[in-house]
Structures are given as structure tokens and as C-alpha cells.
Symmetry: C2
């Protein structure tokens, strides 16, 4: 019994068969899935729905792990520094780390990679100056009052998603371990296991891989006052092992060291520009992951099943915009979404089926740590809040499917959630239907978002919105996800090579030294010159926060000569400032979206200021040659901020907007579907509003209810 609407994946739950089948009808599901922690009963599995079965391939093999402890995954850690008060220093490497997660690996092949550093002098201590015995590294011949650290390898003895669920959702089951597919016996075992699993689960239509092999990085600390020592959703640090390092060395002709990963204890966060060695290593891992994933997909296909991948958790090395993703052969990509940019990330990936897993997950506690499906939770509000972000992105580019995950029985106390999801699925089908009749109209405005990672990290930085919301760029991406413009993500190398050709506008948004601002990439004068050429020849530039900041130049922002704005890193000590009058901008300014950033100053007398706070410019515009450049001190996403960004982009590029639908109210948005001559109008605000919407060939005045999405089909 397929429900008529379909395109919806419901998490079923054994023991709640009636509920499962009832909600499948209510929400029009065509697929039922299991989840991490739930099973499907035969009654559900045989009810005529397509079945997704969730597999985390490297987990749930504790028996094998116990028999092959050397097949477990590893990572490098750096001990906390110890100050030498005498000639000898003793260091317990794991002190300060969570010993339920880590276990020291002092096998000979691992010891080869251990290092001791004098961190005060920044030099490695010769191997003959330290010993390892009884859980302690003893360093001799220390320089007085220098600080010493030990870099070491350790096993990760608790799979991190399982660790998270124990910690957050009070699970008490056995701690799951994780296998490294680079270990030959483990890899053999995993393939056989998948073969058997496929054979034993004939009812499964789609194997839903969660995700592949290597989790993003979570390093826990011993002290609850600093439980999370490090979390990076794009880090490759959990892919390391002596075997991997040897294979890398054999292929690349140079050896990586602990320091390549640890970087004086800072690790190489995705927010920072990578070293050349890290770029090599990432490519090395991406090829390994793709190759092994391809083998798994082949097994699944051989059993007549499809392979969908969930792009979260153990995603490392399989980024959908990476060079090797398409080669894996996945049949579908499932992305959990809080935000619009995540929809665009999913929708734009090169894979047959794009599916969104909505939030909230049917768990007692949400990812932010607040209650959802428990006392004090308001899951219907959460769902609606995420939907407001998602729907505007879906209007720009749609996906094929939506769905939920978790414990279905938790919905029982929350009828409002059930109703809200019903409404959301209805709206999704409306949007999907419009796209089926042709793409929505867009302005002829091609936007290049330029940063270190370029296409690899299209739309996302390195995790969900709330993990990266200190970065202006994720707010920019979120705004762009629902705007009627074309968006691509370019690296500095691509820009240097002329990739801005054909674009109307470039955005650079980041903080000094980060991957988004660009860091040392801007030391290349030809990059600056190329962007200057782009603007002088008529292109538009938007710089946000500290765009293209790099010490050593004659300005702090490499883009300052275009923007007519710089940020004082101290170099302007004693330098007078241009005074200015704030002029009215040619569009409504969402002042609350802009930061009050000390040190911002005009460096050109012809820079126009459209917003300022405390005497410091926040939004400026300047003509350069035939182009225009705007500076924003910061950007915090809101519907009004998105509207401001669109109007700013149109002002800078001289676009008048008649090619697409535009609402004149900052809290309203619109999309025009020429194939069905249908206008989709959004009220993004919590109050009723009236807005005039122009669309190709007409204008209409609409009164929209709070948060309403209205569809109007024209004659």
C-alpha cells in the first residue's frame, strides 16, 4: 500500500506498529526506515512500503574489535605542556583527556611517530633525550622554564556518535568501537559482513549508510568543565594510523609527522587555511574513502538494493562536492537539515536522489542540548523554525524527498508536531510540483563566493549552522540559499586562474587568517590584482568582516584599496581618520545584521557610508573603475538581512530585477515559476504584512498572514 503522495521517509519503530502505519498515512510516506537505536518489526517491513535500513559500517563489531584491537581507529594527540622547573620533565601524555575515548598506542610502529617538543623554543627534542616507561615520558636535558609536550598516537576506543548518544541521551548500552577499513583484516571482515547483511535482509530496498568510515573529530577532555576539547566537523584527524602514514609516504615521497596534524596543539581546523601537506593528505584520504565506498556500493547493488548515504557523522573524505564523490556510485544522498544552505548543499550534489532529513530528530534532546521530545520541549516550534529556513531554499532548488529519523513513539505526546509535519509535507509537495513544471526565474546575477576551500566546501563551512554561526560566511550562505541568484564557490587558485570571468559579483567574508577570509592566499599579488581587474572592469565586490586580511601588506585587508575601508590591526596608530556623514542607502538597511566592529576605518575619501555605529562604518560602498565594492562589518542572517543582501547585490551590479519575482517588503520573498506561471510568496515574519510583488510581466499586491507561504497562479 503506497500512499498517494510519497517522497517521504518515515522512521518506523518495532512495538509501535499501529503508530508507524498511521503516521505513514498521515504524512504520506512511501518509505519506512529504521534508525540508530530502533528496529523495524516484520509487520512494518511487510506493510508494502519501501524499506531503508540504516547501517554504520564501521560500528557494531565489538567482537571483532576485541579480537583485533589493532584494527581500531586512531588519532594523534598532544599532551598538555609541562614547564621544566629542573633539567628533567615527566609527562603523562593522556592527562586531561577522556580515557573512555582514548587509549595510548605505544606499539613500535606507533612509537615511531611519537615526538617530544620544546614548545617555548618551537623545536623538536631529539629522540635520545626522552624515554617512555610506566605511562610516563621522561625528558632530560630540558632548558630551564621551557614548556614540553608529547605528541603521540592513541586508539579511539569509543565510536564518537555512540559516545555522544550515551552522554547526551543517557544511553547505557555497551560502548561501541569502530574499525579502520585500512586494516586489511578489518576491511575483509567489513565486506563479508555487508555481504551477509544484504543476504539476510531481503526486505531492505535501500541501504542507508551512516555515513562511511571516519567521523568528524570530537576530542573529549577528562574535566567536565572542558568536556569538549576539540570538535571540527570537517577535520581529517580521525583518519590517521601508522599504516595510513606509511601508505602516504610511499605514494607522495615524503613523510607526514605528528606535527603536521597537531600544529602546536591547535590541530588544523577546517576554519583555517590548510598546509600543502594537509591538502595532499586530504586528497589521499578522499581517494581511499571513495575507493572503499565504491566496493561497498557494488556489494549492495549486487544484492539488488540501492545505496544511499547519509551525509553527516562519519562523512570525512566523502564530501559531496569533492572530486571523487560521484565516482562512488551512490543512488541517493540524505542530508539532515536545520538551514537553507544545507538544502542547497544536498540539492546541488551530483547523485540521482536528494533527500532531506528534517529536524528535530525524534530524540528527547536536540543537538543544541535543549529538550525536544520531552518535558519542556516544543518540537512543533523547532520543526517550523527549521522549515522557514528550508522552504525558501527549496523554492530556489528542490530535492526529491524529505523524511524524519529517530524514535517514532516520542511523537505520541506531541500532537501539534504531527500536525505541523503534515502541513510541512503539504508545502513540500506544492513546491516540488512547481519545480516539476520548470525551474524558477532567477536574476542574471552570478555570484562567486570565494574562499580557501572553494567548491569542496560549497554552501557549508564545516558543520551545521549553530556550530559555525560565529562566522559571517555561514550567514551569507544562508541568505544566498533562498535568493534568486546563481551561486558558485571558487577557490583562490581558481580566481587567480581567471575563474571570475562570467561572474557579476564576488563575495569574500571571513575573519583575518581564516579559510573564509583567505589568510596567506592574499600574499599573492596576482590574486589581488585579478580581483582588482574584475572590479575595475565592472564587477562587484562584497567584503564582510575582515575580507582578504593578511599581515605584511600596505593595508591589512588586501581588498582595502577597492573597498576604501580597512581594519586597524594596530598599523594605523597615529594615523588620522577620514570623517564621514552617513548617507541613506538605496535600500532598507537591516542594521541589526551588521556588527559593531572596532577598528574599521575609511581609507578613501570617496567611500560612501550607508550605516555606522559608534562612529565606525558598518556598511559602505565605493565606485572603483567601472565596478563597485561594498564593505559590511558583519552579517547575521535574518529574513531582513537576506533582503538587504539581495538589494545590495542588485545595487552593486546595476540589476533592476525584472527577470525574477521581487517583494518590496523586507520580510517578504517571492519566487516566480514561469513553467506554471505561479508565484510563490513568503511572509518570513511573525506578523501579517502587505507587500507588492513584481514578477516578469506583472505586479501583484498581497496581504500575507504570519509565516504564510502563498501560491498564486496567474492567467
Amino acid at each position: 500500500m503506497k500512499e498517494k503522495r510519497g517522497h517521504f521517509t518515515l522512521p518506523g519503530e518495532a512495538g509501535y506498529e499501529e503508530l508507524t502505519l498511521r503516521l505513514a498515512k498521515t504524512w504520506g510516506a512511501d518509505v519506512i526506515r529504521d534508525s540508530d537505536g530502533t528496529k523495524l518489526s516484520p509487520e512494518i517491513a511487510q506493510a508494502g512500503y519501501r524499506i531503508y535500513s540504516t547501517i554504520c559500517i564501521i560500528r557494531e563489531h565489538n567482537e571483532f574489535a576485541a579480537a583485533h584491537p589493532d584494527a581500531q581507529q586512531q588519532c594523534f594527540l598532544m599532551s598538555d605542556p609541562v614547564t621544566a622547573e629542573g633539567p628533567e620533565v615527566r609527562i603523562s601524555p593522556l592527562e586531561g583527556y577522556f580515557t573512555e575515548q582514548f587509549e595510548i598506542n605505544d606499539r613500535p610502529e606507533a612509537m615511531e611517530y611519537w615526538e617530544v617538543w620544546d614548545r617555548t623554543a618551537g623545536v623538536r627534542v631529539p629522540r635520545e633525550q626522552w624515554t617512555w616507561a610506566d605511562g610516563t615520558v621522561t625528558v632530560s636535558g630540558c632548558a630551564p622554564y621551557h614548556r614540553y609536550t608529547v605528541s603521540f598516537l592513541c586508539w579511539r576506543i569509543w565510536e564518537e556518535i555512540n559516545m555522544y548518544n550515551h552522554t547526551t541521551n543517557h544511553w547505557t548500552s555497551e560502548h561501541l568501537r569502530q574499525l579502520d577499513p585500512r586494516h586489511p583484516e578489518a576491511w575483509k571482515f567489513l565486506q563479508e559482513w555487508l555481504e551477509n547483511w544484504c543476504a539476510e535482509n531481503p526486505q531492505t530496498d535501500v541501504v542507508r549508510l551512516t555515513s562511511l568510515f571516519y567521523n568528524f573529530v570530537w576530542i573529549f577532555g577528562a574535566d567536565p568543565r572542558r568536556r569538549t576539547r576539540f570538535t571540527d566537523w570537517g577535520s581529517y584527524d580521525f583518519t590517521v594510523s601508522p599504516v595510513a602514514l606509511k601508505a602516504f609516504e610511499a605514494e607522495y615521497g615524503y613523510a607526514l609527522t605528528a606535527e603536521d596534524f597537531l600544529q602546536r596543539g591547535r590541530l588544523q581546523a577546517t576554519h583555517r587555511p590548510p598546509t600543502p601537506a594537509k591538502r595532499d593528505y586530504m586528497d589521499f584520504i578522499q581517494r581511499f574513502v571513495a575507493e572503499k565506498a565504491r566496493t561497498l556500493v557494488e556489494i549492495i547493488h549486487r544484492h539488488g538494493k540501492q545505496a544511499y548515504v547519509f551525509y553527516d557523522d562519519s562523512w570525512v573524505g566523502m564530501e559531496p562536492y569533492g572530486k571523487y564523490f560521484a565516482s562512488i556510485g551512490f543512488d541517493g544522498l540524505i542530508k539532515c537539515v536545520f538551514s537553507g544552505f544545507e538544502c542547497r548543499l544536498c540539492a546541488g550534489a551530483e547523485v540521482p536522489v536528494h533527500e532531506l532529513r528534517f529536524h528535530p530528530y525524534l530524540f528527547p534532546v536536540g543537538l543544541g542540548g535543549l529538550p525536544t521530545f520531552m518535558e519542556g520541549g516544543h518540537p512543533e516550534k523547532d520543526a517550523l523554525d527549521y522549515w522557514l529556513h528550508v522552504r525558501r531554499a527549496l523554492l530556489r532548488q528542490c530535492v526529491d524527498r524529505i523524511g524524519l529519523g529517530g524514535y517514532l513513539h516520542l511523537t505520541q505526546g506531541f500532537p501539534a508536531f504531527v500536525d505541523t509535519m503534515t502541513e510541512i509535507t503539504d508545502q513540500f509537495h506544492r513546491i516540488r510540483g512547481l519545480h516539476a513544471q520548470g525551474a524558477p526565474a532567477a536574476l542574471p546575477l552570478r555570484v562567486a563566493v570565494v574562499h580557501t576551500w572553494g567548491r569542496l566546501r560549497s554552501w557549508t563551512l564545516s558543520g551545521h549552522f549553530h556550530e559555525t554561526d560565529g562566522n559571517a560566511l555561514i550567514h551569507i550562505n544562508e541568505a544566498l540559499s533562498g535568493l534568486p541568484v546563481e551561486v558558485e564557490f571558487l577557490s583562490h587558485e581558481e580566481v587567480r586562474g581567471g575563474a571570475l570571468k562570467g561572474f557579476d559579483l564576488m563575495i569574500c567574508a571571513g575573519r583575518a587568517g581564516d579559510a573564509w577570509s583567505g589568510g596567506d592566499a592574499w600574499k599573492d599579488p596576482e590574486l589581488t590584482a585579478e580581483v582588482t581587474r574584475f572590479v575595475y572592469e565592472g564587477g562587484a565586490l562584497i567584503g564582510v568582516n575582515e575580507p582578504g586580511a593578511v599581515p605584511g601588506g600596505d593595508t591589512f585587508l588586501a581588498l582595502a584599496p577597492l573597498l576604501g575601508v580597512d581594519v586597524d590591526d594596530g598599523r594605523y596608530a597615529c594615523h588620522g581618520e577620514w570623517s564621514f556623514e552617513t548617507e541613506e542607502a538605496p535600500f532598507p538597511v537591516a542594521a541589526e545584521a551588521l556588527a559593531e566592529k572596532p577598528g574599521v576605518r575609511l581609507t578613501a575619501g570617496d567611500t560612501r557610508v550607508w550605516a555606522a555605529a559608534g562612529g565606525v562604518p558598518q556598511l559602505t560602498c565605493r565606485a572603483c573603475g567601472r565596478g563597485r565594492a561594498a564593505y559590511l562589518s558583519g552579517f547575521a542572517y535574518s529574513p531582513a538581512a537576506a533582503s538587504m543582501l539581495l538589494r545590495l547585490m542588485m545595487t552593486l551590479t546595476g540589476k533592476t530585477g525584472e527577470e525574477a519575482a521581487l517583494a518590496d517588503h523586507p520580510l517578504a520573498e517571492a519566487a516566480w515559476f514561469p513553467g506554471s506561471r505561479t508565484l510563490a510568496a513568503l511572509n518570513n515574519g511573525e506578523a501579517p504584512l502587505e507587500t507588492e510583488i513584481s514578477y516578469p510581466g506583472g505586479k501583484i499586491r498581497l496581504a500575507l498572514k504570519p509565516l504564510e507561504m502563498r501560491f498564486v497562479t496567474m492567467e
Copy 2:
């Protein structure tokens, strides 16, 4: 007729003889002086007072300057950058500069130092690629969309103090020019002129030099929206000339270039650590200034007069804490003061007589640009406000004389000012009398303020408080100026060499990369190790704002491992933070003195937080070895902040305070003069207060009126 009290210098004014002599009596003057813009009449000069005559030696010789334009002072300037839209760029070097101040010097010996730079690439353009004709530099073979600048020498055709007075006080007299004593004919002329002047002014007792040769740097812009392009009260940029550069090259064996001064247009502000070449050049200029000044002082002495120097205006190269100052042989040092730190600067200099010139100057408009002796001005409030800062410093270390400057007639409409000055002179004599009977008691607490300049810039940074008040250190210095502790200023080299021996506490207060924080000095691991040793062996450390910040280390603040606090420059992306509870500090915290500084984070679990705002630590303390280290996110001077600093220093060093007088109210201060067994108690607040004051051997409870200074002599 000498008035009985004396030690007061009154500015007399011809045409106001009665007023002059009346106020001389009222304020108990023993000296009458002229000022910039006023003369003394014979009636005043012969009234029995000692006479100071003000001379600005390099100014007021327009006739000579007209005949010898090449004897005028010079400087390097850098043109604003011009972007190459084609292969050729044309630059008018002076565009954007104030042409009443500057005139291009294109004589052959100057052209030798001109340079053209590609600022985008950071490379100098070969000489054969540019030409100079008709006021324009034409650069050929430009890289597309690179920016080009011209570095050039120019004459300074308007002495800057005169320019300031024209601009601010609406003077309309002839623009004065200034001579460079390095020009042989000018130097001969100046000596002869001084000889003649001394011979022609027999009534003058003291020649008051304002100051010597080279003004601090003021570079004016053409556009009133940025009239001041650069102002640095400690800069040496106005000492430059081809002759000086050649002499430097001959002596040091290497040549300085325009870029040594211009530094990509940033110039070398005193707030930034100097290059080695700048250090050499400063020593070169200091020796030149001292040598020439010695000759002038000898002329003055030969005429039976004394030579006092006013340490402001053309002070460059004669810093009172410089290596050569004492060798000049001045009889007195006169310092204009707004603040306590300026009193200490004057009082501690190696010279027979120390005199303060109080503010407000008797001018219509004050240095901050606000009205003083004109409608809307409240000069009595200004005077009292400065006095509140000055008196607490005078209680610690006294000077010999005080005085005023300017147009005496302006006081006529301001009787309250006359009364306030009478009260201030009374209080000064009380304080001076106490010091005459022996120094005040101090705590056995020796404080080393450590920064790039060390002793050379003791107490001051590079100007008055209001010119440098964005720097935490000037606030710290102001607080220290009135506290019962010993203070010295050390350079990093001195610390590295063991100079902290004998000190109880070290202070480092600055912003990343500035001369006060230390910049690259902290790349030397032995500096960090030495400070670590100092603390571990029992010393105390106070770090303020971004102390010892330097990129490239394993922490951003080199002192972070001691402080247990670091500042995130982006390196902590993805790193978890220590949560903390704010504990009650063992002294009253002046919360408004601390900054809300984003990015401050604990790096050690044992760092105690005594103040925080917005979840970010503001005041912390940590035990390290046998010592203690405290971090302050910022420090803004106020009486309560000074009290907090004293209590913090006592807490860190374990001093209990019985050796000196201490008030238990944060707005009260006290000094104990054992020689006369007199307690001086200050109410620094604008409300009455009661405080208990402990002093060696006793305690007393006092009720103090607003702003009162009370003297209590014990049995």
C-alpha cells in the same frame, strides 16, 4: 619684590602690567615669563621678579629661511597609491597633502632618495622605469592592476606649532618656517643669533627653550575631512634630510632609504616596535641633538643665564630618560602636565630643577579643541580636574616649581579660575613642604613595567594622556604615578639579561604587535623563559589586554602559559573552552575599568576568575610555581581602578601594607610622611566619604569632603 612663597612661574603680558603684578602676588610668583605670542614690558621685567624668556631656537628666522630655503627642515612622504589601469601610471606626489605645510624637494641630492614602489607586489620599481617632470611621476611598464606609490622628500615650509596655533587659535600672522641645525650655515646663524639675543636681553635670568630642534610629527592633509593624516609625539620623521642620511651612512656603514621611514605608508609610529635601523637612527639623532644643545647651553651659561628646556613641541631626540639628556647640561626641565604620569616623568629626570607647567594653557581653546578661556569654557574645572591627577603623583614624588603659560589677560573674565589656581598653589606648597622633611613611605614593592622602549619612554608612551588613551599602559602608568610603590621601566633586552632581579612584580600591558605588548620581542624563547623563571621563583606578573602577543607560538600570548588565559586570534577555532564560575576577588573590583574583550579564554583549569562580562573573563589570577600571575582584559584609569591595581599588586606579591599609608575606601588615597609624621589623605571622589587609613604604627578614621586633600600630623 619677591613674594614670600615663590616656586611659581607666571606668564606676564605687556599691556596688562597691573594684572600681571597683581596675579604675581595672588599666586605667589617668583618668576615671570613670556609666552609664544606675548611679550614682557620693561615695567614687568624690572618689577624684581626673575625672568624666563621663551625661545624656540629654530623658528622666527623667516628672513634667513627665505635666503636659504635649503636650510629648512624636511621629511619623507609617500604619495597615495594609484592603481595601474594600463601600462603607465601618473602620480602627483603631494596630492592629498596640505600644500601650506609641504613643498616637494626635487634637488639632485633629494632625488637620490626618491623611490617608486609597486605596493601590490611589495617591490621597488627600478629607477629607469619612472620619470619626474612637471610635478608628475610617470611610471612605465606597470603590472596591470597593481598599485604604485612615490616616496619623496619635501621641505616643511610651516613650523608645525605655529601651524597648529593658526589653525586652532585663528592666528593670522606670517607663517613661521623652521631651520635645520644640520645645515652648516643655519647652525652658524643660530649660534650667532643666540649670542646676540643673550647680549640684548640682560634682564633674562632663564632662557626657556621650547624645546630644541625637531618637532614631533604632524602631517596635515589637503582635505578638511582628514586634516590630520599622521601625528606621532615620539616620531623622528621630521629630522630627516639628505645631509643627515649621508652622515648616518658614513657613520653606520649602511644607507637608510625612504622605505626605512615610510614603511609602506604606515611610518614607524612610536606605538610600534622599531626596526633595528630605526634604533640606530634614533641614537644618531639623539647624539646630534645633545651635541648641538650642549653648544647652545654653553652660550647661555657664558652670558650668566640659566637654560631650562620645555619638554614638549620640538622635543624629538632630547627625551629626558634618553642616554644623552644629562650631558646637555640643562639647569631645569619644564613639563606641561595634564596627568600624574607627566609629573613623575618630570620629577624623576636627571636635572637640577623640575618645573610643571599646568593646564589649561591661557589660550581660548584647549588642546582637545574645546573652549577654555572663551565663552563656553570652564577653565577652573579643567584646572581642578588636571590637579586631581597631578596632586596624587606629587604626593609620591615632588617637583620644585609650578607655573602657567599663555595670555594672562584671558583670565580676566574667569575669577573662579584665579581662585582655583590660588588653592592649587597653596596645596602644592603644602606637599612640597612635606617632601622637604623627607620622602613619603612606600611599600616594599618594586614594579617593573616592561616594554619595547624601556627607560627611554619611562612613564609616557608618546604624548599626553588624551593622545594615547586608547592604550591600556598609559592608564596603568597614570594609576602607578600616585601609588606607594617603586616603579621602573625596563626593555625586553634588559629583562632577557636578568634585570627583573630585585623586582617584585612585572607589568606587560599592550595590544598585539605594539611596542607596549612587545611584538616580535616575544619570539625570543629566552625572554619567555626568563619571565617564567621570575614568576615560578616567586615573582608576580600582571598582563593587560594582549600582553606578549605574537603570532607563531603555541599560544597567542607568550605569557598565556603563566596567566592561564589566552586571546583567540582565530587559532582556537573548534577548541572547547573551560567553563568557570566567577569568584569574589579579595579586593573591590572596579568593573568599569576592565574591558569587554571578545576572544579571551581560560587555557588552564586552575585559573581563578575574579571578574567576567558576557561569559568572558576580565580579571583572573593563577598560581605558578611560587609566584602568581593576573590577567586584566583592559584597564581604564579612575581612582577606583588605581585602588584596585594597588590591591591586586599587594595580593599577587603577598604584601600586607603596613609600611605605608593605605585607605580602605576605593576612592580615598593616602601618603605617610615619616619625617614630619604627617598623613596626607585624598578624597578622589566627588562625594563626601569616610575612610579608615592605616599608616605605620596607627590607624585613623577620616571623613573627607568631596575632592578634599587633608593633612593630619600625628603626635
